[in-house]
Subunit: 377 residues, 2 copies
Amino acid sequence: MTFRLLIFTFLFSCFAFAQQTKSATPPQMPPWLNTPEVHADNSVTFQFLAPNAQEVKLAREGTEPVAMQKDEKGAWMVTTAPLVPDYYGYSIMVDGVRMLDPYNHLLVPNLLTPANAVHVPGPGLPWELTNVPHGEIHHHFYRSTVCNDDRDYYVYTPPGYSSSAKTKYPVLYLLHGFSDDASGWTAVGHANVILDNLIAQGKAKPMIVVMPLGYGTMEMIHLGWGAWSHHDVRDENFSKFREYLLTEIIPRVESEYRVDKDRKMRAIAGLSMGGSESLLTGLNNLDKFAWIGAFSSGGIPEDFAKDFPGLDASANQKLKLLWIACGTEDHLITVNRNFREWLKEKGIQHTDIETPGMHTWMVWRRNLSAFAPLLFR
Amino acid sequence: MTFRLLIFTFLFSCFAFAQQTKSATPPQMPPWLNTPEVHADNSVTFQFLAPNAQEVKLAREGTEPVAMQKDEKGAWMVTTAPLVPDYYGYSIMVDGVRMLDPYNHLLVPNLLTPANAVHVPGPGLPWELTNVPHGEIHHHFYRSTVCNDDRDYYVYTPPGYSSSAKTKYPVLYLLHGFSDDASGWTAVGHANVILDNLIAQGKAKPMIVVMPLGYGTMEMIHLGWGAWSHHDVRDENFSKFREYLLTEIIPRVESEYRVDKDRKMRAIAGLSMGGSESLLTGLNNLDKFAWIGAFSSGGIPEDFAKDFPGLDASANQKLKLLWIACGTEDHLITVNRNFREWLKEKGIQHTDIETPGMHTWMVWRRNLSAFAPLLFR
């Protein structure tokens, strides 16, 4: 066998697998597009191949879909204006149907709508990988008795963490939103990178971050986007989440890691559905949590007196921080303002954060970057 | 704000993000397809929406692409024959362009051709999640001096592993193939589940499994599928991989984990490109490795005397196992047979494994399930 033939043979196998197939005749090399392409001015060119489509649009996180134009080679294309450095989720709408970009390996895992992301680098931003000591991400699997299923959770340990050292660490329980999976805060939120950078700069205390699966019942996902109109499922989702977090996740983490179990060393925060879970779990268990963060929270009926029975100004003695953030262009801004008004009427101290932005990970990465430095002081 | 309005508002935000956009007018609910759908007889129905496409095919790992038919609602559809239980990678070919399935959250991460997978469950198979004690997956990040980049590696620790206990564990270095990323063996190969099950059944010794990024230079990926024709890059890829594994990964792992450093407690195995890396690294460093596995290996020129200088029958005293496997329908079967013939001429003992199958993960999961029980005996 000649060298050339060997290489051909190897490539053949690669291509065959690349196309998820294997045939008796050499398959064609898949057409290749360099997309998305980030330019020096931070504009980004997206390309997509759909030779027979009538209408192709780029749907980028936080913007209206924009039309792509077919070029002379048959590829649909659009170039954005220069973008603020960040990671942007996106999909391609082809004749009204949401598609992933098959040429971009940067995926946004999601249980209902997986998508892609493009990274526009910005030196100095908290989620940029830098040459500082890195923490470690641990992926755990177990069978939940409360939820009656097999599930997973992720744990970030900070640089220098050692299970055999004497140091005990504070813990932030960090919750994802509806449709995310347990990897959301690391794979999309880059929480590990944010913590690495904040810790290296001395801006955040070294802490353990626990990122559990955020559903009390997976029926919430099986029902798809319509799940929220099934109020019994929605209510079970919130109540079982709280139960399994308190009776399974926290005990597991506290037996597996060197954790300071003092309530002043335990925080809970989350985004969207996870923001509501943080409020419901945290404010109703102030004997366990002293630090609470809610980022763009939503999904609970606005019957606050029912959701937080007995909550009054005496909570101020236990709360080290109640941090409530929402983007001003997020439609959830109204319910967040209403909730803060209710807290004010009750005399419960809290921090109001309104930032530019919609219901996007760009907002939540900034929320975490601002929130984490406040903890465990 | 009424309860109904609140729910609408929340859903609105979810949908908006789902579509990676947010508009001033309510976006349409994305069309939803239940795909892929595994039936009781293990046949699978795949659906895809491409209203203006002329030709849509299902390209499933290990098979020829098959045509999908447009149904009355405009969805393209095909139902397979009953399948052997497994995880199958697949893509959808739309007018000749490979697409991902936007309705399936089960993704196959890959640096060149991300894809989807469908799970046809089969009780008792080694990669099926069962209610046995689970190991843990650790994800590490560091800056490589040898490769001059930031990279990651995964480490599986078996159930009951404790960094503070006295037990020291053997280690398998397990390498992915060309185009995979470091998550390949866990996300696609389900190596952690396979090890959990084999260990629970007493079929494999508890071991640590280290899964590093398999490239000596990322230029191999930047050049895409054509990289193999750049011989200087290919050669640098193999040589730097070997160097960084030996001088960075192994020392890191042996300082981070409770590892038995005896060469008889160190194995190396991999698939495709990783199979060649296992042979090149293992057979040329028998002072460090006693167990070597190559699954469907390929990618090195067939100049074995040059690749393995000085290798002769004296290796038999050091080799506990040299296990060379390939699918009989894989085009790499010829080079694997030639290599085994060369080993035979040299008088080097090895185990020949030929199984049904092509260049697919279905073969490699079975390879690992057969290989791991042999180790560290």
